[in-house]
């Protein structure tokens, strides 16, 4: 039993150690192998953890067997184990994709740095997901912030460095807010462990109700900056659109989510559902989620650059997650988690498709993709399936989150919110459909145009195809997934 409970830590350590070993590897090719081997090992361990959680339920792990008050504790429940293994799955596929594309996008001597950053980033993300100690969470968040800036800036172009600086500044402000929140909580509860804080708060929160409100506000805005909550999203389009394709896929699909999940942890495990619902913050999160859903999509309509368009679409999709959190019900949070998974798989595939389009045509703007569906049919078909999930065609995960969110709105007697959900999915259709339609039907545009190369290599398409397949399966097994994750949030 001891070994199995320590697997989460081993997972994180494998990734950290592999990252620190990489500087000693000479050839770029070997670095790629080291990176993906470490990721794969972690992924296998994560599957073991999921199976263990399925059989024996959630478990705790105390690092170094120190008493929980002093030591760092990890908590692995169904949600954590699921997020962990699915995120690793996506990261591995993105890493596989990057093997074939990263060489043309960044300088050769930066490749080593890129993979070091990827492994550190993955380790810190797992840390944020697992941790049951908010200060430990803060440390991992900082590592994640720096490494994600790292994978943006490896490209070293002018707007790229600008965007990375913007990202760094914004996310440092976010970290500052989170740290202040932690300081507040520590000052009136005397604990850093989430469970202990929860008990302490339940005992005597009436004495520091206002302070608690400020703390939640600090956490919400701090984590909101990092996960691109609506008015705090300004760094995202620049950072995601200028980064190399693999980085954009990672950032958009994976890196936004752990912070939103950490917010769920803070809200619902540290403070508790009943208490959170007494504060107006929850309504503010809901409103901001709605705004994000609408304005993210509206802004995406006016984008010419495909990567910026997909980046704005991410803001809208994060809006759904905050919408789910903001409903203030356990099931709403469960749908938010489900949407995280669904969006992670879909958005990484979309970014990788767009990367292939840019690589093959040499253009970044959508106008140049007319008729491209005939040149690269498989890429476009995969893009179409991903877009269908975003728009909400039945069976795909996007539709299922929308359905459950709407049903939950009816249960909570807030019918008007459904209009926001449906309006947002219509707006998604408005900007995704022209790309698909022009891609398949604008053959005239292809005349007199020379593209770099017509053929897309199979090894670049395989990771995307695997992600789309995973997306379909996530839709098909949505019931099982929700049954697995929702009891814990109750």
């Amino acid at each position: 039993m001891k070994l199995i409970t320590s697997l989460p830590l081993i997972e994180i350590l494998i990734l950290f150690i592999s990252a620190f070993l990489m500087p000693f590897v000479r050839k770029n090719k070997n670095i790629k192998i080291v990176s993906v081997t470490a990721l794969t090992f972690s992924f296998i361990l994560s599957v073991v953890i999921v199976i263990n959680v399925l059989q024996n339920g959630a478990f705790y792990f105390n690092t170094g067997y120190i008493d929980t008050i002093l030591g760092i504790q990890l908590y692995i429940g169904p949600v954590e184990s699921l997020l962990n293994s699915l995120f690793l799955f996506v990261i591995i596929l993105v890493a596989c994709f990057s093997f074939f594309t990263i060489d043309s996008e960044i300088r050769e001597n930066r490749i080593k740095l890129f993979y070091i950053m990827v492994n550190l980033l993955s380790a810190s993300i797992l840390g944020v997901i697992f941790t049951n100690d908010i200060f430990n969470g803060y440390v991992f968040i900082e590592v994640a912030a720096l490494t994600s800036c790292g994978i943006v800036v490896v490209k070293e172009t002018q707007d790229n460095i600008k965007a990375a600086l913007k990202y760094l500044i914004m996310s440092t402000i976010g970290s500052g807010l989170i740290l202040m929140g932690i300081a507040f909580i520590y000052s009136f509860t005397g604990h850093l462990n989430i469970d202990l804080i929860h008990q302490a708060i339940l005992e005597d929160y009436t004495q520091y109700q206002k302070a608690l409100l400020i703390t939640i506000a600090l956490f919400t805005s701090g984590l909101g900056v990092k996960s691109a909550m609506f008015p705090l999203h300004t760094w995202l389009p620049d950072a995601h659109s200028t980064a190399p394709t693999a980085s954009s896929a990672l950032l958009s699909a994976i890196v936004l989510k752990p912070f939103a999940f950490f917010l769920i942890k803070i809200m619902y495990r540290m403070i508790g559902f009943d208490l959170v619902n007494q504060f107006n913050i929850i309504t503010i999160i809901l409103t901001l989620g709605c705004c994000g859903m609408l304005f993210g999509s509206l802004a995406a309509i006016f984008q010419k650059n495909i990567k910026r368009l997909i980046a704005y679409s991410s803001i809208a999709q994060m809006g759904y997650i905050f919408f789910g959190i903001g409903l203030g019900s356990p099931f709403g949070a469960a749908i938010a988690v489900y949407h995280m998974i669904g969006h992670a798989v879909t958005k990484s595939a979309l970014f990788m498709c767009s990367g292939l389009m840019i690589e093959k045509t040499g253009y970044k703007t959508i106008d140049n993709y007319k008729g491209l569906g005939h040149e690269m049919p498989i890429t476009f078909a995969l893009f179409t399936l991903g877009a269908f999930s975003m728009i909400g065609i039945p069976i795909f995960p996007g539709f299922i989150s929308k359905w459950y969110l709407s049903i939950e709105c009816i249960h909570l007697n807030q019918l008007l919110l459904i209009f926001v959900v449906l309006a947002s999915s219509l707006l998604n259709a408005v900007y995704y459909f022209p790309i698909i339609i022009n891609g398949f039907f604008g053959i005239e545009n292809l005349k007199n145009k020379e593209y770099h190369s017509k053929k897309v290599e199979t090894q670049k398409l395989l990771p995307i195809a695997a992600l789309i397949l995973a997306m379909v399966l996530l839709g098909a097994f949505s019931k099982n997934i929700l049954d697995f994750i929702s009891p814990e949030l109750h």
Partner: protein, 482 residues
Amino acid sequence: MQYLLLAPILFPFILSIVLLFNKWEEKIRNRWVLCGIIINFLLLIHNVFILKENRIHVLKLNEFIDIYIKMDTAGIVFCFLVSFLWILTSFYSIGYMHDERKQTRFFIFFTATLGVTNGIALSGNLITLYLFYELLTLFTFPLVIHAGNETALKAGYKYLIYSFGGAALSLFGMFMIFSKTQSLDFIPGGIIQPVFTKELSYYFMAYVLTFCGFGVKAGLVPFHSWLPSAMVAPTPVSALLHAVAVVKSGIFSLIRMSYFIFGPTVIMLIKGNDFALVFILITILTGSFLAIHQKNLKKRLAYSTISQLGYIMLGLVVFNPDSFAGGMLHMIFHAFIKITLFFCVGAIMHITGKTEIQEIQGLGKQLPILMWCFSLSAISLVGIPPTNGFVSKWFLAIGSLQTGSFVIPIVLLLSALLTAGYLLPIITTAFFKPIPAGESVYTEPSPFMLIPIIILTGIVLLTGLFPNPIINILDTIAISVI
């Protein structure tokens, strides 16, 4: 053998995939299309007589995603209508598309749309219907933008936005129904029972949302403007969009929603029909008035469709057996009439290149068979015996008189006059105006186009003389749902 139930839906898809991957010559491809669509019709007949009222759960993922195919009488009637008209349309399309570009793409989506429409007909619950309803938009869109020019694309986007908007509204209604009933299966007489007094406004909102949502495709008036715009499509597509595939799918979804989800009693309880009636009467009149002002033949027919769809919906919200039979009859008969009219207009365009009404002066002498078919169908649409349009309008009139209100019969009468007002001038222009000087000589269209038109005109007359077999079938449906 139970899986053969899926054949009318899956077979056209397989056919379109076969077309996608084979680069055949025109003749061989046409043969494949014709054989495929006829075989599909035979499969349907087999299903109707051998499998009878059978059902199959294709895919049950969770409590709401449940792809469920069921054959019931209403579905069979619609499916039969679609599959039969598709055969004639494919003959016509082969003649019409002969000189056009991108023919293979046209036939790929043409056959796939048949599968989707059959899917709508045979859906066993609202979520399956919704899935096919969305797919219908996606598969008909390439047909609408077939010309590929700026106007076609613009019309196509308009069509997409309207259709998705409508589908979103009906999805909203579905959420509301599902959260109360936990089921979306179609059961004759409705699944919502009992209704408590405090829930009345809730259900009223759900009804309004689904009615307006599905009404978008059924050409309900404030949401109708995609329909005339979509006229940029090739004529066989316009004919299909108007006669069977799209607008009738909207109507059929309304039938499913009103009689198999809500049920007449609930709708009358929440006074949903009063609300719907206002929209429908406006639809009938607006469609007719706008049709009079159109100079373009296809546009005039498009507005006429809007008005006639109003008749069908009228029959569906009055809730007595006569009205219901009248509405269903008009759904079937209007399909035959409108497809003939469109085929004739398309043939005129194809032969002479003329699209405006004043240009067709004296064409009756040059193309007698074509113009006679047009005239007979037009007379039928006005509702003059012994054509089938008279039969359906008779039932509608009887049904509406039973309500005791005089508004509906007056609107029907006024609209019949307007129908005559916008269709008869076309006939008089063609037959009684002299042929302009210097006009070139035209000959009748190729048999591929002419024979379907003649067959359809024959059906229009025959069903007018002997409507009883169809009425008997519709009466059994009416008894089960009301």
